[in-house]
Symmetry: C2
Subunit: 399 residues, 2 copies
């Protein structure tokens, strides 16, 4: 694969959902931008004579071949708010180009190769990460999914109906496949520095991680007239929580972030009665993660006592560690002569790995930045990623 | 005035703009709720045979009598988001009831008594507090006002046009009056505790106060994969700023609040590239206020250096101290045998005091809470406030 051929197909997807002012992407599940990405997917599949199957959960699979053993590849189109171009779409674009490369090599699947586009991986609209793959594998019950609402109060059922889908079809839909291979842009700098330096790497594991909601309640009051000693200001407790989470994560070599905050009523001249914040926490070991969250909760509760506020900590989603299939990982790494590295990010591959031998390829990201417009990969590295994905699919799926 | 008569008129205004879920009020300038309040005002004026004059700035004045010396009373209808019922409307309802009381006493104005309803005192929609009175007195230029936009991007001109007003009429409109007297719910507990205990008090001064915007810029990145040491997270700088402002205010006996925060993109799994926050700061002395804001800015700038972020501090509005007219203050306090107390809150009375001898009456608030649903005054204290206002108007304006 050449960088130019990669760029040609990549460019056709780039305008969809782009905010030209910020350079970031807004591709929430079942938004207009997401639906345009799905049309792009259908056209690329049709160009290659591949049939597209839509399950009841918003996931698409384009199939090459029929019957027999099957191997799945793919990723997702949707983004975080103002996200980067590569997180997700790179795996889908690379999969179509890998099919092209296999055909040029005269290779064909012994049974089938499928290219998947999973729905709402980031959870930016309905708050549940890997929504499509969790529904596909049965990890999330349809009843629970149907109760989800987006920030505007639109239910998942209504979003599906508006997009021409039938909410009654939500539920397990994983096809019988022998392996799943997901190519993804790297979201750190391990491939750019040190022992792992290479254009493409293979994933060893996904850190256990989760989202915890902090609801802090105090007493709303006038900012100008309320004596400092009379205040019960939850913004103080929140500020302490953010700094405590950072410190506790550093002490443990873990990751903790508060990137989302909601203040009520969010007025300059009012002490807020309540503030909510979301803690994103991740660590290499489950015990480390548990210890981190417990320490933050304990420190915030103690501080709330001093601020005259109260705190409730709710786990919204917690994903255990994923150790990718060792045999498949070693086979892929040996084939590609690629380094093996862990990641702190969740992926559809992590969800599927509980059901299917799964491998992940990472393409080097020189900035290390992800979930932001500065997310990058060179065309040369992306082309190397396509070649690597084609090699893996040929090894696993072709005659 | 009896508590029952107060409650009867008060109840007629209470449903307008009430959020029954929270018990708070949403009465932004020129919103449907605000326009309904203006209709209520016109009906109450008509019931009393008072003519309503609307200036070009959204302010209303209902006049009793004609010619000769004039005294103005009144307040505002608009609220902060989810505000209390009393802040503003109490002064207008009390003014109509004071007129009723004067008539029952057989008193009549030597010239005129006007009841004013000032527009957008809280600044909750267009960001400038005392918008109506500032335009009326010439403290705010019409060009600057016309450039204001609300959170939805609607300009003040469009809001005026939609409400049936002509934006070309914006500008100075203060009628010739000998005095302005504003009755307002207390926004603290000085009248409930200690040396000032009484149902009604008289204002000595308004603290100098202002709003400063903090723009904190870092580097957006993935919450899961970015090492703690590689982060430039403006949320940390913000948290430090909120705690530093609180501490510096306590050290100085001043008030500092961060009640409004905007996080971009505000996603759980993204380190935000930028965060903005608004600092509301007030102090008894201008030097104390200046010292407070300088200390906060210096500490936040130092912390930003450690966080790898940058900080810009912009003064959005700063109001100097207001010392109410000493002669009028002492005359009113002696007449009512009421205590004299300062306040940290801005008011239309503060704006008018630069042009007209001005006095303020405060009605006791047992919770001390304001700008929140728990804002309260007993019907008995409100009735005492009406009687006090009638006494003052009779003393200043009647034959």
């Amino acid at each position: 694969m050449t960088p130019e051929r990669f760029r040609a197909l990549w460019s056709s997807l780039l305008p969809i959902g782009l905010d030209r002012r910020t350079g970031g992407y807004f591709r929430y599940g079942w938004s207009d931008a997401d639906l345009a990405c799905r049309e792009w997917f259908a056209e690329e599949a049709a160009d290659r004579g591949m049939d597209v199957a839509a399950d009841g959960n918003g996931n698409l699979i384009a199939w090459w071949g029929s019957g027999g053993p099957a191997v799945l590849t793919g990723s997702h189109f949707d983004s975080v708010p103002n996200g980067g171009a590569y997180d997700g779409p790179l795996g889908i674009v690379s999969a179509f180009l890998a099919v092209d490369l296999l055909r040029e090599r005269g290779a064909a699947p012994a049974g089938r190769i499928g290219i998947a586009a999973f729905a709402e991986e980031e959870g930016a609209r309905f708050g549940v990460a890997c929504l499509g793959s969790r529904l596909m594998t049965g990890a999330l019950a349809p009843e629970r999914a149907l109760a989800l609402r987006d920030g505007d109060g639109v239910s998942l059922g209504d979003a599906l109906t508006k997009a021409g889908a039938d909410p009654a079809r939500l539920g397990p839909s994983l096809p019988a496949v022998d392996a799943y291979v997901e190519l993804h842009v790297e979201q750190g700098r391990l491939l750019s520095t040190g022992e792992h330096t290479a254009p493409v790497g293979v994933a060893s594991a996904i850190w256990p991680h989760g989202r915890w909601r902090l609801d802090l309640t105090g007493e709303g009051n006038h900012a100008g007239t309320t004596r400092m000693a009379d205040r019960c200001d939850p913004m103080l407790t929140l500020s302490y929580a953010i700094l405590a989470a950072n410190k506790e994560a550093r002490l443990r070599g873990a990751h903790a972030t508060v990137g989302r905050v909601e203040v009520t009523p969010n007025a300059t001249n009012a002490i807020p009665p309540s503030v909510s914040a979301w803690l994103d926490a991740r660590a290499a070991q489950a015990e480390t993660l548990d210890g981190l969250v417990e320490a933050v909760a304990a420190k915030v509760t103690e501080r709330a006592g001093r601020d005259g506020t109260s705190v409730a900590v709710t786990a919204e989603s917690v994903s255990p560690a994923v150790e990718f299939d060792g045999g498949l990982r070693d086979r892929v790494a040996a084939l590609l002569r690629a380094p093996i590295l862990p990641t702190g990010a969740g992926h559809d591959a992590g969800v599927l790995s509980a059901h299917v031998p799964t491998a992940m390829l990472f393409v080097r990201n020189p900035t290390g930045v992800s979930h932001a417009p500065a997310e990058r990969a060179t065309d040369a590295d992306c082309a190397a990623g396509v070649t690597a994905l084609a090699d893996v699919l040929q090894d696993l799926a072709c005659r």
